[in-house]
Symmetry: C3
Subunit: 371 residues, 3 copies
């Protein structure tokens, strides 16, 4: 899997860890346990006891500790073994790997890379479940496919003209016109005017409903899609000469669609999604209307992407051919590859200078040296 | 998989592509889409769009074209990309691999080898669903086993004495007497008299029912089984000194059993079968009687062959030991190996002379050179 | 798989082969057919016909013979082919591998190693279904995990303090105190006093119920667990200075728990279990009480061990870290490795001197030389 490690991955919903029951998740094929201590502190460990590799997600939160419920080893929040029942001496080096973890916008984010590089400032500006100005709907969907193919789907919205005609009645303009694609430091921005459409880029049922829609989204590393769509009076796009609307004010957004795509295993991925409607522009009604159609749209994506994966699986030496619609796909994946190369280079440097890097897999010994 | 490529494989029933909805099938583990244009022309493409490898079988027939419903690329009947929505320039080289396809006897046949070698004269003389003189029943059955083990089952009918006693009450004569086996250009012929049996080689319920049955079948590359069974007055076989009956006239056949065995993936196979009764010798009654027992017989074959496959799967370095009953099996598999060797030799020659061969997998570039 | 071959593996229940219908089982990933002749003689063959590798477990017992029901080959009890229908000459060398088989204590045991080393004296002293003094309950449970992890679970009962609190209300003393572990010739013995507990090591509901429990078990190669638990008056352990009770008489046992762990495939295992209560100490009531809770306890083991396996499967280069509770685990696995090394050495010796060893997989030819 070619995925950036120095990035925040959405691993779960905040509400999933309210119960102080540890939560087992999978990110980049690594088993991770997320748990909340009695005082509410969140922690993320590799989900395997150092003793017999039993999953700690089958364990029990005990105050500020987590106990493995196979043979009873107990860990403090830093991952150190503090109790082995029936044994007095506990080597100080016994500990599980911990992951930096953050809770923001209703999502629990886990940093999969070097601990020292974990910067909460890199968490994208999601309009979260807890945003005061928005009414949100949310859900999640699992794909039997590589996460990158789900991301690629979101990076080229020309597909909505064909794949989503049945569910969303989308116009062919999504495919006929090319959006403006701009590289960002940690992603790409993709924006376009859709002239004379119904709201949100569907074909208008009658002429009176036609508007100009301005669609703009950022797609951030590792796979966070943040889109806003605003409807303007017909003619606005031309009046603005195709430039973005000047009042691109977050509070004015009519419709916000957000997804975080997380690789679970090599060939499974989870989409966490939040659909938000501004209180002053549709609110709960708009949210409900959106949430009524979203599962149908995503089911179409899922069917196509999983079918694509099955074809790829029987195509040795497969490759894609890019069209001009793939500019976002190409730029984003080029960025991912660059970041992965840089991580790999840093990791080699670190090895030669004795500075440790959090790699994949069991690295108890290496971590203990520097721990 | 050691299978002949220069051969017609049954991929589907004719009726399956009546609706102009593209049909995704698998042959030799290659995903293939079969579709019928508005004017009724049948085409078979590799089932993956050149762009993102989405299956074209999820696409839409549009007149004489086929559109991929992921990002909207459109292909003409020769496999060439004729439209990329939103993009003016389309490289002439963009095309999917096509397969020669034929529709005959109610089956859709796909040629998996070199296009120039595709000769419809090689389609075996099936008594098809559309034959004026026969009343047919048909069905299909999938095996979780390599196609060759299903073929081997049909090439040695000594098994019917043991495997099918429960369903068909078959006599031990099938196993006790050896049929005459003759090599053919594209297969083997296997024929034998069964003396003093009930109709079709079952044990006769009482002496008055006893007849002599002449059973004769051809097994053609890649896996087409065409069998006829005729019942004669008791004593005919001896009167003929064991020679075939002189009136071996297709119109006189009492019972016709036909199967096409197609490898879907490495370890799955599909049997397409047609059971035919002559209008003058049993007709619909005979067909119905046959179709009532056939599913039971084939269920016995399927259980045994899939169990055999599971044993083989846990037997490294496995090998079969041939008995004298395996003459048909041995001759047919020797023929297959010879044909495969010849294909392989031709393919090497072709490479060195620049002539292209249709191999497996994605071969866009190579095909484009010669396309 | 690192498992001892020169050992008796429980393959089935005696009652499973009462019907003279051959029984297909899997041991160490080898398919084995167990069948009983008309005169009651038990035999165990590799479960694949020499002809087409069809499983003989789909065959038919015919007197003292076993017939393959694919093409009708017939085998005598020594594994030799004695009939090929329709063929006069049968090479004397045609035979399937046979396994030494024994029937004892209600279990059918198969010896997986060198035939000449098969010694029924090595079958552990199980209190079997047929024991006159005990009332038994029994069952079996399949694990999607390597057999050795199931064995390890039984070799370190400190886990019962944590894993089985819900089902059995077990005391923490199982984990807080270390048992005495003694090496045996073919296993380990693990014994301990549990002071002031309820019967069988559960927490006592009230003080009046408290007893001292003496728990003692042997764990034999390849994976046979034989445990007895006796309840004594509170204070007995201290009065005996922690020494075993002098009346360690099999007839006096209050509670006997026995399991045989058999590797079916590389990552599946079966537990055959017999729970026995002495007629004079609880009898059927005690048996019923035990059998009511055992499935809950084993379900907890199964959930944990299968979860452990899934974690191990995604942990390249995984290793366990032993605590002081792992003494039994460590000693037993060291013994297994020693025995495997010795087998491997003997096998090399044998090869160089021409003496044959029964290895894994199809070894017809090698066996035939020495057969």
């Amino acid at each position: 899997m070619t995925y950036v490690r120095n990035a925040w991955y959405v691993a779960a919903w905040s509400e999933e860890s309210q119960s102080r029951r540890p939560l087992g998740v999978r990110v980049l094929n690594e088993p991770i346990v997320i748990w909340r201590s009695e005082t509410g502190v969140l922690a993320a460990f590799e989900d395997r006891c150092i003793h017999r590799l039993a999953p700690l997600s089958l364990g029990r939160c005990e105050g500020e500790m987590l106990r493995c419920m196979y043979h009873g080893l107990r860990f403090d929040r830093t991952g150190r073994v503090v109790e082995i029942p029936g044994q007095d001496r506990i080597p100080n080096s016994l500990r599980v790997r911990t992951y930096p973890v953050a809770e923001r916008h209703g999502w629990i984010w886990v940093w999969m890379g070097t601990e020292s590089a974990a910067d909460e400032g890199l968490i994208p500006p999601v309009i979260g479940m807890d945003h005061p100005d928005y009414i949100c709907g949310h859900g999640q969907l699992d794909y039997d496919a590589e996460a990158r193919f789900v991301s690629d789907n979101l990076l080229d919205l020309s597909h909505v003209s064909f794949l989503h005609t049945a569910s969303a009645g989308t116009s062919e303009n999504w495919a006929r016109e090319r959006p403006k694609v701009t590289e960002q430091e940690r992603g790409v921005r993709i924006e376009q005017w859709l002239r004379g459409e119904g709201s949100y880029g569907s074909v208008a049922a009658d002429a009176a409903e036609r508007v100009d829609v301005y669609s703009c989204y950022d797609f951030f590393v590792p796979g966070v899609f943040l889109m806003t769509q605003d409807a303007y009076l017909l003619g606005t796009a031309d009046a603005l000469n195709g430039q973005p609307p000047p009042d691109l004010d977050p509070a004015a957004k009519k419709f916000v669609a957000q997804q975080a795509i997380t690789p679970l295993t090599e060939k499974t991925a989870r989409s966490f999604y939040i659909m938000a409607a501004h209180r002053c522009h549709g609110g709960a009604d708009q949210r409900d209307a959106t949430m009524a159609v979203v599962p149908k749209i995503f089911a179409e994506d899922k069917a196509m992407i999983e079918a694509q994966q099955r074809i790829i699986d029987v195509t040795p030496g497969w490759r894609f051919i890019a069209t001009t619609a793939d500019r976002g796909v190409v730029l984003f994946n080029r960025l991912v590859e660059k970041l992965v190369r840089e991580e790999s280079a840093r990791s080699s440097d670190a090895s030669s200078t004795g500075i440790l890097d959090s790699g994949t897999g069991p690295n108890l010994d290496r971590r203990l040296v520097g721990g």
